[in-house]
Symmetry: C2
DNA sequence: CCTACCGATCGGTAGG
DNA sequence: CCTACCGATCGGTAGG
C-alpha cells in the first residue's frame, strides 16, 4: 500500500506544525504589518529557521494568504450552525463580535493593519479583502432587507449605504481603539453606532443637517 | 549685513523645493505606505537623488512627520476663517469633506494607509495619529454638545461614543472605497451614516436589536 | 545637492 | 527542516 502525496501532506505532525506557523505569522503580521514582518521572526516563534517556513508554505506571499483564510475559517467554525445569522440576529452577532474583539487586540490589529495595507500598490492581500468586503456587505444588506420585510417597511434605498457603513464603523473604531485603548470603548461605541444605523434604515428621519448652510 | 541661518533656511527656492518633496512623499507614502515607500522614488519625482531628500529633511522619519503636518496645515488654511466650524455646521463640514475626498483618492489613501500602519510596533507616526484622533474626537463631541443644547436636549451619555463613531465610519468607508470604488459610494454613504449617528444622539430610539437573543 | 559607499535586512534557493 | 549563500533593496553618512 503506497502513501499518496496528499496523505503525506496531511500527516498530523505537519498539520499541527503548519497551524503553529499560521498563529505565529498572524502575531508578526499583526504587530508589524506584512511588509515589515520578517519571516525570521515568525520562524523564531516556532523554533525553526526562516527557510523552514518557506519549506512549509512556499513563499511569504502564500503564507499571508493562508493566514487570512485560516482566521476566516476558524471564525466561521465558531458560529452556531457554522453559518452567519440573518435579520436582526446578524446585527446582534456583530455587536457580540465587537465585545469579543475588545478582548483580542492581536487579531483586531492584524486585520486592521493588513486590510489598510492591502490598498497599496500590488499588495498580495488586496483580492482577499476586496472579496471579503463584497461578501460581508452582501450579507449585511440581506439582513437589512429581511428586517425591513419583517417590519413591513419597504425603503431599501439606504440598505447598501447602511451595510457598508456598519462594517466601516466597526473597522474605524478598531483603529482608534488600537491607538488609544483607554480613550475609546470599542464594544460600547460599536453597539451604539450599529443601533444608530439600523434605526435610520428602519425608520429614517430628517436631521437638522438637512438645512443647507454655508 | 550678515545672513542668518534661519534666513537661509527660508530662502524661497528652498521652501519651494521642500514643498515639492512633501507632495512627492505624500504620493509615495500613499501608494506604498511608509515602510515600503522608498526615498529613491520620492527623489526621482523631484529630480534629485535620495541623498538630496535627506539633505533637506534629515531622515525618512522626519520627512514623514513633516508630510503629515503639512497636509493638516493645508487643510486648515482651506477652512473659512481658518478654524473648524461648530455645532451642526461641523457635521455639514464633515459631509462636504467626504464629497471632496471622493475626488482625491491619493490623499485619502495616504491617510488611510498611514493611520493603520501607525498602530504597528514603534511606528514613527503613532503619536501623530494618537494626537490627531484625540483632537478630532474632542471637536466632534463639542459640536454634539452645542447641538444638544440648542435643541434643548440634555442627553450627553452617547456623545463620546458618537464622536468616535463619526470619525470611524468616515475612515472605514474610505478603505472599502479604495478597495472597490464602484461598489461603495464614499460621499453618499458617509452622509447617510453621519446623519444616522447625529439623529441617534439628538433623539435616541430603541431598536429591535434590544431584545436579547441567542 | 551629488557621488560613492557602508551596513543591515530580507526573501528565496541550493543541496542536502 | 537546516546550513550557507545570493541578490536586491534601502536608509544613512562622508566628503566634497
Amino acid at each position: 500500500m503506497s502513501v499518496s502525496r496528499s496523505e503525506r501532506r496531511t500527516r498530523p505532525q505537519t498539520v499541527a506544525r503548519r497551524e503553529e506557523i499560521l498563529k505565529a505569522a498572524m502575531a508578526t503580521f499583526g504587530a508589524k504589518g506584512y511588509n515589515k514582518g520578517p519571516l525570521t521572526e515568525i520562524a523564531d516563534q516556532v523554533g525553526m529557521t526562516h527557510a523552514g517556513i518557506l519549506h512549509h508554505f512556499g513563499s511569504k506571499n502564500a503564507l499571508l494568504l493562508e493566514v487570512l483564510q485560516y482566521r476566516d475559517a476558524t471564525d466561521v467554525e465558531a458560529l452556531p450552525e457554522h453559518h452567519i445569522p440573518d435579520g436582526a440576529d446578524l446585527f446582534r452577532h456583530l455587536v457580540r463580535t465587537a465585545f469579543l474583539n475588545a478582548q483580542r487586540a492581536g487579531i483586531v490589529q492584524a486585520y486592521a493593519v493588513l486590510s489598510a495595507e492591502s490598498v497599496t500598490d500590488d499588495h498580495p492581500a488586496r483580492p482577499f479583502f476586496q472579496q471579503r468586503y463584497t461578501t460581508l456587505r452582501g450579507e449585511v444588506a440581506h439582513a437589512f432587507r429581511v428586517m425591513c420585510q419583517e417590519a413591513g417597511v419597504d425603503e431599501p434605498t439606504t440598505v447598501d449605504k447602511a451595510a457598508a457603513s456598519i462594517l466601516a464603523v466597526m473597522d474605524g473604531l478598531q483603529i482608534q481603539w488600537l491607538l488609544d485603548p483607554t480613550a475609546v470603548d470599542l464594544a460600547e461605541a460599536s453597539e451604539f453606532a450599529i443601533e444608530a444605523i439600523v434605526a435610520q434604515v428602519l425608520t429614517p428621519r430628517e436631521t437638522p443637517l438637512r438645512r443647507p448652510a454655508d
